[in-house]
Symmetry: C2
Subunit: 743 residues, 2 copies
């Protein structure tokens, strides 16, 4: 704790004591077992050692350890040895996956002046691992196709579909051009995908200092933000189509798996793509001609941002080694004593782009500490009611390879046995960030109520609520933030290893982490290092400890509960909100089309435009038809009418011990999420969950009711009607399962 905050501690403690009660009820437990659970959790807390976190982080991040590297394998063995030492039944499962690494990287400005991009992050004396160049992967985007192209440059902002509408309004066509886009606004893989859809022949992605550099704060090593030659590595596999090994969609990448040819692989980019630093972007962008970019497209380079095309002409030449490499997943089990066939799973990847002290080792070491403490409890005689499985995933960075292959290989048993998957990844200072299945909102709220914030000595729930109140943009939101009993979980998109669990197999899932106060710009660079982490991210590892306590409590409660604490009511409530959103989206989209057509037809748009600037009116769009939301509305109404019955049945089953009834409820609850699986989303059948998916054009960002929402966004009205029917059907299934279970 900083000196400054000491002065207010006494006051804050006074508040916290009034809301925190050690004997608070825990959903899913009888009163007697809840008290035992609280005592067990105190024991758990007492076993957590901040020194372990520091020691393991310094061990695991000591050398670059990307997928396929020597130190990555070494880390797998080290992690497996830890689990074994704590008494877990531990295996390493291997998959053979496609992982390209750079052979040629050349980017040159060839006119109006010449400049060759440096493409190198310099070693720094203040960063002990930054000079490990022999083992570092250079800056590149994994699963860029090979290519050698020369063309004029067009600036396409974040490179999302709407940006190309703006270019068109300015009379700019990217066909045959190389687009330069900035990081942000979407997951990076969207940028080359959309550029290629519009006919570009190459794509550059740079880190603009406005989003990721000096505009945000002092740059490394003075401060935490990205310095001029810092650049962001990262995957551009088309993961919204399917993640995991690009050559083995839907099946595990075992030695004998049938593999696609790289040439025909649908998730490799269609055009070459390279990430660069802002120092390398500056010479390319300062010579650009064409219209001045719209205000919200302008970053913090000290130039006037132009759209092009030209006058900058660039040559981009990329070639890769298309190797198959081993991915090693470490799987550690602790068998349940009473309900061993009900599984609770916890995972965090351990591979990194370079040293990865924050991403992912900060999360990995918190998870390991959790496993250690549970192991010690077990050695003292405690056993979980259900089976606990820990996973340390390999190959997350290139495309969630380790977790996806493992889930694909174990899909049938997971569908049968796995109740909940809890993921974590990078961890930082700040506020609890918990996203996931809405059936877990009460569960997460209770854990957040019982974990203390290490800097403010109130519960992490209370700090989170305070932030929601203070950041609320209007009185209504503020009131809701104050009055709401339960945390609202954001839905899961993609970007970490929960993806295959929730989206492909339909396992209720959570993603956990702390953040919001450890801002910086070391993401996917050589500066995501031990020195950086211990200066800027979580210097005292106190948020590492709090993540251990959060994840540990979750695992303990899920493993020990008398009835699994999944609730249909919170899901029904939230899905009803999503239904309202998509209905409003359809109305808004219709109104927007009508209004835009009107402004074009009346010439209002033209009259409002500057006659001395290029103006291309948008084309007249077909009027949007009304779609039939009735099936969705009926399904939601049905679900809302029955959800409460099941939650009351669960509550009744924990009012007193009634083991057979509890087991029966578990059997229903653990499979409930799977009722939400459908035949697969349009054009991407790997994604089977009808309520949650990463956006086809956002990448990490979630689309809820994705079939319906994306059909409306893309103005595919027939598909919208179809997807309403499909989605209504899974919600009816869910409601039926709820009804059956409640009986």
């Amino acid at each position: 704790m900083s000196i400054k905050s000491l002065a207010v501690t006494a006051l804050v403690l006074a508040i916290s004591l009034s809301t925190y009660a050690a004997d608070a009820p825990i959903t899913g437990f009888t009163a007697a077992n809840a008290a035992k659970e609280q005592a067990l959790e105190s024991q758990f807390d007492s076993k957590v050692s901040v020194q372990d976190l520091r020691t393991w982080l310094e061990r695991l991040a000591a050398r670059p350890h990307q997928l396929g590297s020597a130190y990555d394998h070494d880390n797998a063995e080290f992690i497996a040895s830890l689990f074994r030492s704590w008494g877990y039944d531990t295996t390493i499962e291997r998959y053979d996956v496609l992982f390209p690494t750079p052979k040629t990287r050349l980017l040159e400005l060839i006119s109006p002046e010449r400049y060759t991009a440096k493409l190198v992050e310099p070693a720094l004396p203040q960063d002990r691992t930054s000079g490990q160049t022999a083992e570092q992967l250079p800056v590149y985007n994994a699963y860029s196709i090979d290519g050698d192209v020369t063309a004029d440059l067009v600036y396409a902002n974040y490179g999302v579909p709407a940006d190309y509408d703006v270019l068109a309004r300015n009379g700019i066509d990217v066909r045959g051009k190389i687009v330069i886009t900035r990081y942000g606004g979407s997951w990076r893989g969207i940028k080359p995908k959309v550029a290629a859809e519009h006919g570009a022949i190459g794509c550059i992605i740079y880190s603009d200092p406005r989003d990721d550099g000096y505009f945000q704060g002092d740059v490394y090593p003075k401060g935490a933000y990205r310095s001029e030659y810092g650049a962001q590595r990262g995957s551009v596999e088309d993961m919204p189509v399917y993640p995991g090994d690009p050559l083995t969609p839907g099946v595990a990448a075992t030695p004998d798996a049938k593999r696609l040819d790289v040439k025909n692989c649908p998730v490799i980019t269609k055009i070459p793509v390279l990430p660069i630093s802002y120092a390398d972007a500056l010479p390319l962008m300062r010579s650009m001609a064409g219209p001045v970019a719209p205000p919200d497209w302008r970053g913090a380079l000290p130039i006037t941002y132009h759209l092009g095309p030209g006058a900058s002409r660039v040559h981009l030449n990329l070639a890769f080694n298309w190797n198959i490499v081993p991915a090693y997943d470490v799987i550690a089990r602790m068998r349940g004593s009473e309900r061993p066939d009900e599984w609770i799973m916890r995972g965090n990847h351990y591979d990194a782009w370079v040293n990865g002290a924050a991403d992912p080792i900060s999360g990995q070491v918190s998870m390991l500490e959790e496993a250690k403490a549970l192991g010690e409890l077990a050695k003292q005689g405690w056993r979980p009611k259900r089976t606990i499985i820990y996973a340390a995933w390999d190959g997350e960075e290139p495309g969630l390879l380790g977790s996806t292959e493992w889930v694909e290989g174990h899909a049938a048993e997971l569908a049968q046995h796995l109740a909940v998957y809890i993921n974590s990844d990078s961890n930082s200072r700040g506020f609890l960030n918990a996203d996931g299945s809405h059936s877990l909102e009460r569960f997460v709220t209770e854990v957040a109520r019982d974990v203390q914030d290490p800097e403010r000595n109130v519960s992490v729930l209370e700090r989170l609520k305070a932030r929601q109140v203070v950041l609320a943009s209007n009185a209504e939101d503020r009131k809701r933030a104050r009055d709401r009993e339960l945390m609202r979980l954001d839905a899961l998109g993609s970007g970490s290893d929960y993806t295959a669990y929730i989206d492909h197999v339909g396992i209720a899932s959570l993603n956990l982490g702390y953040g919001g106060e450890g801002g910086g710009g070391s993401y996917h660079s050589i500066y995501d290092s031990i020195d950086y982490f211990e200066r800027f991210v979580d210097p005292d590892f106190v948020y590492g400890v709090v993540l251990t306590k959060t994840g540990g409590r979750m695992v303990l409660r899920l493993a020990n509960a008398d009835v699994l604490p999944l609730q249909a009511g919170t899901f029904a409530h939230t899905v009803s909100r999503y239904a309202s959103e998509v209905m409003k989206l359809a109305d808004d989209t219709r109104a927007k089309i009508e209004e835009q057509n009107r402004e074009v037809q009346t010439h209002e748009m033209e009259l409002a435009a500057d006659p001395k600037k290029p103006f291309v009116a948008p084309p007249i769009q077909p009027v949007a038809p009304y779609v039939n939301f009735a099936p969705l509305q009926n399904a939601v109404a049905h679900l809302k009418s029955v959800a409460g019955v099941l939650d009351r049945a669960s509550a009744a089953a924990t009012d007193s011990a009634n083991a057979p009834r509890q087991v029966a409820l578990d059997g229903a609850l653990m499979h409930l999420e799977q009722a939400l699986l459908g035949p697969g989303l349009p054009n991407r059948p790997w994604f089977r969950h009808q309520i949650y998916a990463p956006g086809f054009y956002t990448g990490y960002g979630v689309k809820t009711l994705p079939g319906i929402r994306e059909a409306i966004e893309q103005k595919e009205w027939a598909q919208a009607n179809e997807q309403i029917a499909v989605t209504a059907k899974v919600l009816e299934n869910y409601a039926d399962e709820v009804e059956k279970a409640a009986k």
Copy 2:
């Protein structure tokens, strides 16, 4: 017209013909006289010569011509000679006014590194007048006090009161410090005033490239935006207290006027202040320490913006020649034939900071062309019904000196005779910008309906409506923009020569100009030049011509109308909206105080803050009492109930010729605005209008119902109650006058 727009001309013409009708009614005219007026206006248009505009602009802007300079006097004589040549009864009226010019300007960074600010705008080969250094005033702020100070620097964003609240929340006190602020967010004179109120000992104002430089577009001479050493001169006289000669408030600065001592003059700054370029600001700001500035405080310099105080320590030394100089107002009269004691006045200043091709010569030459065309009509036998007076003002730039002294010297006769004052100033390409008394909304709308946009061949009204539709942020605003018959005039704040007319004497006033498409950054610099204007502002002088046609029509209609086209209904409607606004402001202010107190008392604000950053909770504020709006509500209700009666009486008086009734109505209408004068606003009695005033803390930006609104903003609740009573009284007066006139 550009080539590009030719393609759409045919279509657009088809639209315009349907809405533009030469025989459209004109308020204030009988049907027969309206037809004659339209014919006269066509004749007027035929006399407008684009070549005159170019010739005069190149003559008047050929050399620097600030107040007191040789060329400024030369221009006065030239303008007077033009008026005389057109047949006007022309005089030059002289006032002797305080006008400081720089003797010493020194700004040095003394630690952590040394840098001496250049404070010079370089001459450019592409700009023929930029090298006239012998006659140029250097970059400075007029009416800065002398001072020699050394202190650490604090960055205060735009330097408005709310910015100091943010500094306080970051634990930063500016007492004894020098603040650096950026241009924008308020009129410049607010910045040193507020800095001094908070205890700063010096103030620097720089042009941030985000607001005024490369972020906006290519810089001069490549493009139109401010280049690295470009800087903005300007007055920092505390004009919201009173404008005009600082030494003779309220009276004309005649030779025998009683003058204040410079030492006791309340409108000279309390601390020294200097404007600088962004090239000079960069070395000062890049060394600053302290917290990182909030995101919306950060500009486009390629640095991390810090708040300070320090590590930059600066030395600022300023001294001025406190001279009394002559200001020459050119006054030209054309006597009315039927109602010579009813005056219509038109004005534009002619003094500049340097060459001032745009500011103010672009507006001056359009006004001169108007006067020329009227003179030619007069030579053909036409005479205005009412007297027309043209004024070319001197000394506007330092503080509206010429117009204010003239109005103060002629206040009594203006109150008796002057019906309407129409001002213009700089002119550019784009959309009609007309602000002013709400009683003139129908009048302005009809003129805008009858003037064609030179680039799009629709009326300027239609283009303006198209822009309002396209820029509307929601469907409701869009519908209102489409459906509204009349233009909504924005209220007048300050910043040009209408100020004394409306605010001090209560003359119904307008301010006219075109703009929005001639963006750039030459304002108050040596680059506001002929070469710049003819490349970037209005290269073909087509918007100069359209301003001539707009202003000319207004003067002709006001001079010729059977009944003055002032309407009480539009005023009543708008003042009712202002009353709703201030009532909502009081409620919102109360709610905001309550909410902030609550967040402090519950510690929500503290819990939401990053413990590793400085946090100072705002002090608990007294709960806002409810104030008595009833007098205002009653006055507005009274006014609304009678306003329509007067407008119907005016309409009836032009249904058929009834000269005595028309003259009687004129007599009431021309004095109606004066009913809105009160005893003067709190702490600034020179400002007597109770409905319109420049904001005490905005400078140019208007505050409507200023006594009430500013009392609420400053949480002076007793004063709010008093000002409600005062404002209600003037509105009751106005309503009484309306009732009397309607009888």
